[in-house]
Symmetry: D3
Subunit: 233 residues, 6 copies
């Protein structure tokens, strides 16, 4: 079975990361993974929320889709007076992932909020938010002279089983008919920070789960190279 866009099963979609897309944020980028586009902006504030120990910093994330990011327009959260539960889930994931990169003591008493706003969504918006969010975060830390607070990098990608075939980096068409969907967030050292897998159409064996993690690991290595180029460029 050929993939809808002709990719090999272990191949990422074309990735583009435009750094400093927003001129006001301390760090920002527009990340494109195929037709998925997420604007990631890291904002630094010189105070921390109450739960943070004195002398330490905090990193958090917010995630949202613009109303017409998808094939059909969806209502804004504010018109329903509810944060979309899916957004709530995703922004918790992105926040945990980005915190894994930062030494909070070296950051000092600051909060960095990474806003991930999906301009166009074609599958993989949560993993693009982690990958692009890391770039925004790293640029912001450089801008404020706190690069040493960066312990490692993170990047993320999904893999899934579509028509019984394991595939890397599902686009919307693939995602919407995937039997299994799994995504991983990994560090520069190739270790896991987050793993989330779901049997959408059927359950999956432990062996299948392992194969999907291996696919993700491969994709993340490629993403890491692109992140480095952007940050060093």
């Amino acid at each position: 079975m050929a993939r809808i866009d002709g990719r090999a099963n272990d191949q990422l979609r074309p990735i583009e990361i435009i750094p400093n897309f927003n001129r006001f944020a301390e760090g920002s980028c527009l990340i494109r993974c195929g037709n998925t586009q997420v604007l990631c902006c890291a904002s630094v504030e010189e105070r921390t929320p109450p739960h943070v120990p004195e002398g330490e910093g905090w990193v958090t994330a917010e995630y949202s889709m613009l109303p017409r990011a998808n094939r059909e327009r969806s209502k804004r959260d504010i018109s329903k007076l509810k944060l979309s539960p899916r957004s709530a889930e995703i922004q918790r994931l992105v926040g945990r992932s980005l915190r894994a990169c930062v030494d909070m003591t070296k950051l000092g008493e600051r909060t960095i909020t990474v806003d991930c706003d999906v301009l166009q969504g074609d599958g993989g918006t949560r993993t693009a938010s982690v990958t692009g969010g890391y770039v925004a975060l790293a640029l912001a830390l450089k801008k404020i002279g706190a690069e040493d607070a960066l312990k490692t990098s993170v990047a993320a990608v999904s893999a899934g089983i579509v028509e019984e075939q394991p595939m890397l980096d599902l686009c919307y068409e693939e995602d919407s008919c995937a039997q299994v969907d799994l995504n991983c967030v990994m560090t520069a050292e190739g270790e896991l920070v987050e793993i989330q897998g779901t049997g959408e159409g059927r359950s999956f064996t432990i062996a299948e789960q392992r194969e999907l993690v291996d696919l993700c690991a491969k994709g993340i290595e490629a993403l890491r190279t692109i992140q480095k180029q952007v940050l060093e460029g």
Copy 2:
């Protein structure tokens, strides 16, 4: 007194309108007015709200700023559970302006929602939303084969008095110290659809008000030319 960016007092900032920026919306554009950037997406739905007479259509607008559109990050509406009153005011203005272009009977029983999301705000976001929103609307009408529902075009710009001098198209630095701020929405025929003026630092004479309207009229003519080029291009 020279303007901060060297423009003449009756000169617009550089304008760029990128049509079809979003691949899913029936019509869309990214409009740049200097450093202000607004993504305008027109979405068509085949139903109308209850207050619309049978056989007619409806055009409405929503306006929002991304959290880091400004120099300082602001909280999302949903985290305050309130639509920003400023956004409420602006989206009512944009909606009225766009409705002025459309023959609702020719549109038929459809709703077109024009989402104006400010990616970067440097003054003039409400007028950019009208100018770009018109382009998105016109593209959507073309896409669905309802160009004949378009009665006229609209474009908008602001003018103000800064250090006692009338100036066209204020950027943020000018806007934040303006004594008077006025914006106009005008049709292709050079008639007014909306006028809103505010004395921020002082009141203003009827003569001053007239001068500002004349400045706006001049700027809107230039904007109309750009809109036409984009739509015909």
Copy 3:
């Protein structure tokens, strides 16, 4: 064409302002403009919101309609959990207008909130709120011995084009079929503080806009006389 209530085109409806209608507010009045009735109460608090510079005061307004102020009952904001966007727009206008009268340094570190609650609405509620709100504000400043903080007065009225004729101070029936609706807020010196005009049924020329402003200026002069009588009485 004769007006529905027999007025001349440049004639105000009967105006009545009952000062001190509420016994608890520092300043208050009930303003009647024809069948429109707005209760305006100015409340003084000895603290200011965070955005106000130290040593200065603040003036703000809130606007709301009682559920049966209109021909049809409308739901309360709280049962929809949303401030009506129209109310949001109007209370911003009233607040800006009243702030134009006050020297914030002379007011000192106090907030004056002017609540404008429409008991009955028959057109012109926003302009009645400005005109009555000024009276409530002036009475409150007198009560707390801060009359010197008052720089000028403000009053407001609307004008519109109905069946191609420019008319002053539209009542509901006129307003609901107006082609153009414009309102002005002006100071004691006859200068503009706010101008808002909308083409409801059609666009309007700059010449028409000027004519409507001139009509408003005439009406506001009459309103100013009534305000003075009430405040001096």
Copy 4:
């Protein structure tokens, strides 16, 4: 001990009921009990909520205080995004009381909503809302030709123990230092529809409770006479 306003312990405050205060509501009145002023408007709609059996009608009430109804300004419900729990409690009481007067089958498939908005509160606003709400309801039923749906009338008053003395119709000063506060809603036949009593400063004996009910019964008889005069006048 003399009462603050010189009344006898079993004496009501001066009562005034101005019928048809609002020109749009099907029935309305402004009720004044001493310095307490409540605007009661009854609105008729030709549909019923889902829980109402077919062929029957529904009567409901809403209660709210204007921000400056009291000695200190309070925030609007909408700015806290919560219906005041006290208002919730009171509007349930008023609704139940008014429903006790109406034969829902004779009313037919209509909803009557009685809005009780407190313009000025000086104690006894919930009982004034019942007493005035009944007048608004009766006027509305007359207006729509459904007087026969009225089974009885209701009126309400409070009594309390202040400095160990039972007193009728507490004003704010008395209410705020009452040891016991009890209110009754009674029909034209002198039967109870609602009774609510609270020991604020101390508990109270069954004998005291009986004495307060007897005081209320006396006051309600006087209120009923005023209601009749207004409705027959």
Copy 5:
């Protein structure tokens, strides 16, 4: 007429109070009154809300039903974004009742919040919340060594008129067809703290009201004995 569960008209349902049902709360119990089950948890915090005078404490209550506490599932408050008005009314009653037991000066600057969560509701949940809430409160005061702040005890029960017969402690079936429903909260001394009575199907005489209070008084005496056993056991 025999009662649905064979009880005498002046007989309580079987009562069970399991103390310390929750291991984290300073005081807690599960109270069962027939098929009604309420989990009452008293939580102590070392601070007070702003309205409490310095040096004094505060006692408050919250009441909620689990979605499937009743015969039909009801939506959670959070999915409607509104505290149920009925819950608002009940938690105010429970809070007032429990405050009647406590000497706030002896409590000191602490807040005790008593959460009453209905696991299963079969009539009488508000009175069970008072009776069980008192036990949770007393246990919490003992745990923090503040027993001397307890001035008295409270317990509560309902009585009603069903098919013209006065009955004690209505279960759901009785409650839903009761003509009159009345509940009392009383102290250890047999004095009233709260009384609330409603004519659901018809109004009721003062004599009937007295008979229902007497029934309640009898039931509360029995409840008080059970409370003592639990607290002393």
Copy 6:
């Protein structure tokens, strides 16, 4: 290193499942895993949400913690007007897990809502909600004669790395200092439905991830035996 409660590293806490704990729900149980207690109630409604294809059914879940489920009291969602993001995330997980057991066509046009309310939380509340939620769901399907809609069973447990040792079924003390936390939902066939792993204190290798999944698989087998006993008993 010994575990805080003396368990072996691959040993579950004592599990108890009391079926039919709530008499109104079509299916219900109270599940206890050590000191964690969750009340699971399955409610059947004869209609489905709009997104469900005709002829099919739907299964969904809601999750909430009582305010004093934890060591410290937390505010109710409704008093913050926000569904806790953690609850939003968990109820999505529980819903997906339970849907994996049900053949929606055989269920027919019904919605089953499984409410998981945490009475006491000591770690593992989300996995207890899945395990207990399945029992409530299965009981409800039996009650309505739709057992054949059950395709498989699900149960869930967590495992984590604490002080560098992999451990099964973390209690609160272990969970709050875990370096890695991972939970699995598995079917009767031992296949995965959900996997979620997070590096809290450090990242983790793919090998560690595999070991934790194996631990979970072992625990889930034991849970499945208990579920069967309860459902067959």
